[in-house]
């Protein structure tokens, strides 16, 4: 089903029900459809139609679902633009996708206008021209003007299931972001699967925590509107202030929480949970990175009635495995090591392969390949990447049982000797004797910081572009949380990740400069800030005369990171 059709059905079933809430304000299903259809009409007036892409440059607000469903109702695909990313990076996405229209908001007017100037002109919807004071002349379509359009409604253009619905850009290893294209088919397959997996009903009240440019945001946007539930959008203030967020969860009686572990760890450490009644929570779903066990166990003790679900899946495939825990912290104490990523989601096929793409036997390490209806169509305009990330594998029933002892459950005839197209996750896993998959690490140099993917190769490529740089190496090093001096209060934001203490990662760079050229660490960081999102900008930069080398002449990364550890110990 088309994603906007899901919304229309929910509105027909109960139009007065709040679809979204933010800051205590309701956006009812009927209002959302009406506003989205008026935006679709305004976009159509500007020439937007099936096959087009429209940007969204917004913080967390009730305007998010209006923008998303309005763009979809116009037959176009939406492209979320990270409001915290440098203008040059956003401009490259806008150019790559041929975006001519962006839906924004007054608080982002200045950035939107800079982007428009950089991109050689854009139509900005959702602001007045005056909002972008001090910027060059902008073409603006205010919400009042949008609202004056007749809703598109039944005139909404029809697009196919395989038309793009959204394009999410992520770190690309060559220095250019790459766009993950999801279609109405893959988006609604994910929504249907998530609704089924967590038993969503109209009575549920979901959190919407991740920003739109983070793939996790589609979980609640599309699965909640599929079943006619209510989603509470967590605004920027509540994201920053854990004690206020804890109060919001209580006041809004949330039943489903979904975020990266970091947000939950901050709630646990600084949210003063003892003073709150969070008994409404029935599912706490997390993903994006591992949850340090000591924090997971504490949180499960605070929320003894909630079941927890570790979900795994790159943005390219949506969620493709899950492992449910609890209720109660005893489940964590029984774990041997970390939380497994578990078993395949319904209708998802998994296979673990060796370096030659041959399936390995259970118990052996290998790369995880994923096939199923929630997988992306491909990368935007990058057939070269598609060729590398999709692979046809001859599957053997014995090694592709999608669930333990549950071979060919769907009766689709996939059996011995069948060729199937898989997406390479780049993640190393192992299938244990109990049939559960364990996540072991990356096959490449991608790291996660605060749930966001960072390709260290991209950081290197950007730094290497600086005219003074001769050679560069970048690594991610676990950084223990350090409390700020002089307070009996919180340590800085901890981040879950490879650091078992839940500490943050330091992105460290080593740089050699060209003879006669000069740049200092601040200069390099300023250069990086024009191209990279903030979490990817190296915080530790060391200048070296020469790099330690392996016997094959490659940069010896372990030797480099060891020098850093000694220097900071």
């Amino acid at each position: 089903m088309l994603l906007v059709e899901q919304l229309r059905r929910a509105a027909e079933a109960d139009g007065a029900k709040p679809a979204f809430r933010c800051g205590g304000v309701d956006l009812r299903y009927r209002e959302l459809v009406d506003r989205a259809d008026r935006l679709a009409a305004a976009l159509r007036d500007r020439g937007v139609g099936p096959g087009d892409r429209v940007g969204i440059l917004q913080g967390k607000s009730l305007e998010n679902p209006v923008a998303v469903f309005g763009i979809l109702a116009a037959g176009a695909a939406y492209v979320p633009l990270d409001p915290a990313a440098p203008v040059a990076r956003l401009a490259s996405i806008v150019a790559d996708c041929g975006i001519a229209n962006v839906v924004t908001e007054p608080a982002r007017a200045s950035k939107a206008a800079k982007l428009a100037a950089n991109a050689g002109g854009l139509v900005l919807h959702g602001i007045e021209a005056d909002d972008a004071e001090g910027q060059a002349a902008v073409t603006a379509v205010s919400w009042d003007e949008v609202a004056s359009h007749e809703p598109l409604g039944a005139d909404s253009p029809s697009v196919g299931q395989d038309a793009p619905a959204y394009v999410i850009f992520t770190s690309g290893s060559t220095g250019t972001p790459k766009g993950i294209v999801h279609t109405h088919r893959s988006g609604s397959a994910y929504a249907t699967m998530a609704a089924e997996l967590y038993g969503l009903t109209t009575d549920d009240r979901l959190s919407n925590f991740p920003p739109l440019h983070f793939d996790q945001s589609t979980f609640d946007l599309f699965s909640a509107t599929l079943v006619g539930a209510t989603t509470v959008i967590i605004d920027g203030e509540h994201q920053l202030v854990p004690a206020s967020l804890a109060r919001l969860i209580e006041d809004e009686r949330l039943t489903i929480w979904y975020s990266v572990p970091l947000a939950l760890i901050q709630l646990l450490l600084y949210g003063v949970l003892d003073e709150r009644d969070h008994s409404s929570l029935r599912w706490v779903v997390y993903g994006g990175e591992p949850f340090p066990l000591k924090h997971l166990e504490s949180l499960m003790a605070h929320w003894p009635r909630a079941r927890f679900s570790n979900c795994y899946g790159p943005a390219e495939t949506n969620q493709c495995t899950y492992h449910h825990l609890g209720p109660g912290p005893a489940a964590v104490r029984r774990l041997d090591g970390g939380v497994p990523i578990g078993v395949a989601c319904p209708d998802v096929e998994l296979v673990v392969v060796d370096a030659d793409d041959r399936p390995v036997v259970d118990g052996d390490d290998g790369q995880l390949l994923v096939s199923g209806p929630t997988t992306m169509r491909g990368y935007w305009g990058r057939p070269d990447l598609d060729d590398r990330c999709f692979v046809d594998v001859t599957v053997d029933r014995d090694v592709t049982a999608d669930r333990h002892g549950d071979a060919d459950r769907d009766g689709d005839g996939v059996g011995r000797g069948t060729v199937r197209r898989y997406y390479r996750t780049g993640d190393l896993v192992r299938r244990r004797t109990d049939g559960l998959l364990e996540f072991l690490g990356r096959a490449d140099r991608q790291v996660k910081r605060r749930g966001l993917r960072i390709e260290l190769d991209e950081v290197e490529a950007v730094l290497a572009d600086h005219e003074a740089v001769e050679e560069v190496a970048v690594a991610a090093i676990p950084a223990p949380p350090e409390p700020p001096a002089g307070v009996g209060a919180p340590a800085p934001a901890p981040a879950a990740g490879p650091n078992p203490d839940g500490g943050d990662l330091t992105i460290a760079a080593w740089v050699s400069t060209r003879p006669g050229a000069f740049v200092d660490a601040d200069g390099l960081r300023r250069h990086a800030a024009t191209r990279l999102t903030r979490p990817a900008i190296p915080t530790a930069i060391s200048f070296v005369d020469r790099f330690p080398r392996t016997t094959t002449g490659k940069i010896d990364y372990p030797a480099l990171t060891a020098t850093r550890s000694r220097a900071t110990a």
């Binding site: 202030v241 307070v487 009996g488």
Partner: protein, 85 residues
């Protein structure tokens, strides 16, 4: 310099994510407009501790206290007034 002005100066000099944002006023939203991030908020709390010798317990780190420089100044004044715990 008043306490509120000291806080404003610290926020502008040290915490703002957008270096072009130097025209910050007492009433400009800090959190809602994402002018500072979570690390900035923690540094601000550390600053209140260092500069004014107050401890900020977790349950007072609330949006209403840290919304803008004026509310932070009011919160600090409350902490420093005689009889405050």
């Amino acid at each position: 310099m008043s306490h509120t002005d000291q806080i404003l100066e610290f926020v502008v000099d040290e915490l703002l994510l957008d270096p072009d944002d130097e025209q910050l006023t007492l009433d400009d939203e800090l959190l809602a407009a994402e002018r500072i991030d979570s690390l900035g908020l923690m540094r601000l709390i550390a600053f209140l501790g260092d500069e004014f010798d107050v401890t900020v317990p977790y349950d007072e780190i609330l949006i209403e206290n840290f919304r803008n420089v004026r509310t932070i100044g009011d919160y600090l004044a409350g902490k420093l007034s005689p009889g405050a715990s």
